[in-house]
Amino acid sequence: MTIRVADAAESPSFQKAALPLLHDTQLRANVRHATDVIQRKRAAVVGETPDWQELREAASAIKTHTLRHLDSYLLQFEQACTAAGGHVHWASDADEANRIIADIVRQHGGKQLIKIKTMTSDETKLNDALEHEGIRAHETDLAELIIQLGHDKPSHIVVPALHKNRNQVREIFREQMHLPELGNQPEDLTAAARHYLREKFLSVNIGLCGANFLVAETGGVCIVESEGNGRMCLTLPDVLISLAGIEKIIPTFQDLEVFLQLLPRSATGERMNPYNSLWTGVRQNDGPKHFHVVLLDNGRTSVLADAEARQTLHCIRCAACLNTCPVYRQTGGHAYGSSYAGPVGAILTPQLLGMESAQSLPYASSLCGACYEVCPVKINIPEVLIHLRGRVVREQKSALDAEALAMKTAAAIFASRRRFEAAQRIGRLGQWPVVSNGWVKNLPGMLGNWTRVRDLRALPQQTFRGWWKQRVKDGKQADHA
C-alpha cells in the first residue's frame, strides 16, 4: 500500500517552501485580503448564533462517538446505500481509489468527466491518474477551474484559488479560453466561466463529487456548495461517482442539523449554503442512473489508531483554522505542500503519510491557539501539533541530531540547581565574542535565524537569583530557600 497526499511526500520542508511565498507581495496581499473578508463574515454569523458553543460540543461528541464505532457505521452505510441502488467500493489507498474510478468511467465508455470540487480527489491526484488512462477530468468549481486552467495547485481547502486576484484570473481565462477582450470585473469572469462550463455540463455524461457527509442510517450523501455547478454535476449525468474519506460518516440524518449549522458559518460566513444537495442511491427517471461511492482509507485508519491525535479525523474541511492562522496568513497554502493547508493540514498530512514525510509541518505553528478557538468540531490542534512533534522526535530523529543533543544538554542543566547556575555563569562570561555594546546582533548556526531580523540584549551582569542571594546576604531578606 502506498499512501499519497498530493505531492506532500516529495515536497520541500515548510520553511524552504515558505521563502519564495514570503517574497511574493501580490500573493500575500491576496491572502490577507481574502482571509480578512471571510473572517469578518464568519464572526458576524457566529456572533448571532446563541448556542454556538453547544453546537461545537455536540459536533465534537457526534464525531467522537462515530469514530469509536466507525467500522459498524461504515458497514451500515454500505448496506443502506446498496439497498437504495448505489454501489459501494472500498479503497485502501489513493492508487486503488483512482483505479476504481477509472474502471467505472471505462465501463460506461466515457472519456471525460465533470467534477464538483473535491479535496479528496486532489489528495489522491485523481486528475493525473485519469489523464494517464486517457480520461479528461473537467473541474467545474470556479476556483478549481482557475487552478486547472492555470496549471496551479489549490492553496486553501474551501477557496482553492484564494492566492489569485481577479486580474490574475483574467489573464488565465484570456489565454486558456481564448478571450483576448475579457474584462476584470467579477461579472465578466463568471460569465466567461459559465459559458465555458455550460458546454461541459451538457455534453459530459459522468460526474464526480466528494462528500461533506455520508449518512450511515440512510446511505445518503450530502454536499453543500455555493455556485450551483455541483447541482449540475450531481443531477445531469447518467453516472455519478462520489469519492469520500471514511471519516465523512455521520450516524443519522438528524445529525445534519448540527453540522449544517456549523459548516457554512465556519467556511464561508453564511447562515446556509446556497446549494444543499442530499440524495440516496438512484431513482428511476430522476437524476443519475448509476451511483458509486468510493470509500477511501489512504492512511485514515492509522490516524484513528493514535488515541491522542485521532480527533484530527473530526475535521469537516471548513478551513476556519486556515483563515485565522497567523502563519497561513503570511505564506498562503502552497508552503504546506499538500492538498490540506493550514493548521489542520499541518496535523493531517504527516499523519496520513505515517509521519515519515512532511515532518516540518507540525512545527509550522507558533501554537497561538487561534485555530482551536474557531474550530467548529473542537479539534485541539495545538495539542495534536505538540503530540506530533513528540512523535517526530521519538520516531524519526536520530539521537545524534544537533537539536536533540542541545535539548538533552538543556534538560541535564535544568535537572540540577548547581548546573543551572553554572550555565548562567558560563553564558555570562562566555558571551563576549558575540556581544558588542551590550547587544547581540549575530549568532552562529540555527540561532542566527533569530539575529537575522532581531537584536538580543546581552545577558545581564547579574541574574535574578544572583540579586536575590545578594539581598539575603545584605540582610534585606530572610532566607527561606
Binding site: F14, Q15, A18, L19, L22, P326, V327, Q330, T331, P362, Y363, A364, S365, S366, L367, C368, G369, A370, Y372, I386, R389, G390, R391, V393, R394, E403, M407, K408, A411, F414, A415, S416, R417, F420, Q424, G427, W439, K441, M446, N449, W450, R452, V453, R454, D455, L456, R457, L459, P460, Q462, T463, F464, R465, G466, W467, W468, K469, Q477, H480, A481
Partner: protein, 250 residues
C-alpha cells in the same frame, strides 16, 4: 500572604529587572516573598518542541519545590499554561498516583501575576504611577489558555498618569512561539513585521505584556529597526511609583 515566586528560567537569566519588580510590587502591597533557589525551568520549551520525556524531570522538580507554597506567583502566562494544561496529562502518563495528586493539589495555588493581584488579592489599583503612552500586547497563552480577558488592562487602567493606547489586531500572535522563532525564522519574522506595524500605529512609547518571551521577540525587532519604542513587563509598570519610577527597560 506568603507568596512563592517562580521567576521562570528565562526571566531569571535574561530579565532580572522583571523579578525585582515583582518583589518590589508585592512587598509594597504588604506580602512576604519567598524565592526557592532549587527552581529551574517548567519544561515548556522541551515539551512544546517534542521532547516530552525530557520535560518530565522538570515537572517533578517544580512540584517538589513548590508543593508546600501558600501561593505561587509566576510572571509569565506561557509557563502557567504549561503547568496548568500539561502537568496533569504528564503526571497521568507517569502512572504515579502520588505525583498526580501532588499536581492536582498544587494547581489551585498557581497564579499568573495579574491573576494573583486581581483574583486572589482583589486589587485593581496597586498604587502605581507611570506617566507614559503604553500599548498592551495580549500574549496568546494569556488570551486562549489562561483566559485572562481584561485583567491586565484593569490593572493598567488604574496606573496614575498612564495613557493606554489600543493595539490593533490585539488577538493576533506576534510570531514568537518558542523554538518556532528559530525553526521557522522567516515566517516568524513576517509575523513580527505585521505586529510592529500595529505597534507603531499606536504611537506608544512602551509595549507591555504579561510575558517577557513575546516582549523579547518584539523588542528584538523594534530595536533592530531603531524605532525607539521600548518594552516593559507589566510587573515593571505596576512596580513603578512617583518616588520610585521604572529603572531602565527590558
Amino acid at each position: 500572604m506568603r507568596v512563592s515566586l517562580f521567576i521562570t528560567c528565562y526571566n531569571d537569566t535574561l530579565f532580572p529587572a522583571t523579578g525585582q519588580a515583582v518583589v518590589r510590587l508585592l512587598e509594597r502591597l504588604g506580602h512576604t516573598i519567598e524565592f526557592p533557589l532549587d527552581q529551574t525551568c517548567c519544561g515548556q520549551m522541551h515539551y512544546n518542541t517534542g521532547y516530552q520525556q525530557e520535560a518530565m524531570p522538570m515537572m517533578r522538580r517544580f512540584v517538589e519545590v513548590f508543593r508546600d507554597a501558600e501561593a505561587v506567583c509566576i510572571p509569565s502566562s506561557s509557563c502557567v499554561a504549561m503547568i496548568r494544561d500539561h502537568y496533569p496529562l504528564m503526571a497521568a502518563e507517569q502512572s504515579d498516583p502520588g505525583l498526580a495528586r501532588a499536581v492536582d493539589e498544587l494547581l489551585p495555588r498557581i497564579y499568573e501575576l495579574t491573576e494573583l493581584l486581581v483574583h486572589r488579592l482583589g486589587l485593581e489599583d496597586v498604587g502605581a504611577a507611570f506617566p507614559h503612552r503604553v500599548t498592551y500586547h495580549a500574549s496568546c497563552h494569556s488570551l486562549r489558555s489562561l483566559h485572562l480577558g481584561d485583567l491586565p488592562l484593569r490593572l493598567l487602567r488604574s496606573v496614575r498618569g498612564i495613557e493606554l493606547l489600543d493595539l490593533p489586531n490585539v488577538d493576533r500572535c506576534c510570531g514568537f512561539g518558542g523554538t518556532f522563532a528559530v525553526k521557522m525564522g522567516d515566517v516568524s519574522a513576517a509575523m513580527l513585521a505585521e505586529k510592529m506595524q500595529d505597534i507603531e500605529s499606536t504611537h506608544a512609547e512602551y509595549v507591555t505584556a504579561v510575558d517577557n518571551s513575546c516582549l523579547m521577540h518584539i523588542f528584538g525587532g523594534l530595536h533592530r529597526q531603531n524605532t525607539g519604542i521600548r518594552t516593559a513587563h507589566i510587573a515593571e509598570i505596576l512596580a513603578s511609583t512617583g518616588s520610585e519610577p521604572l529603572e531602565g527597560t527590558t
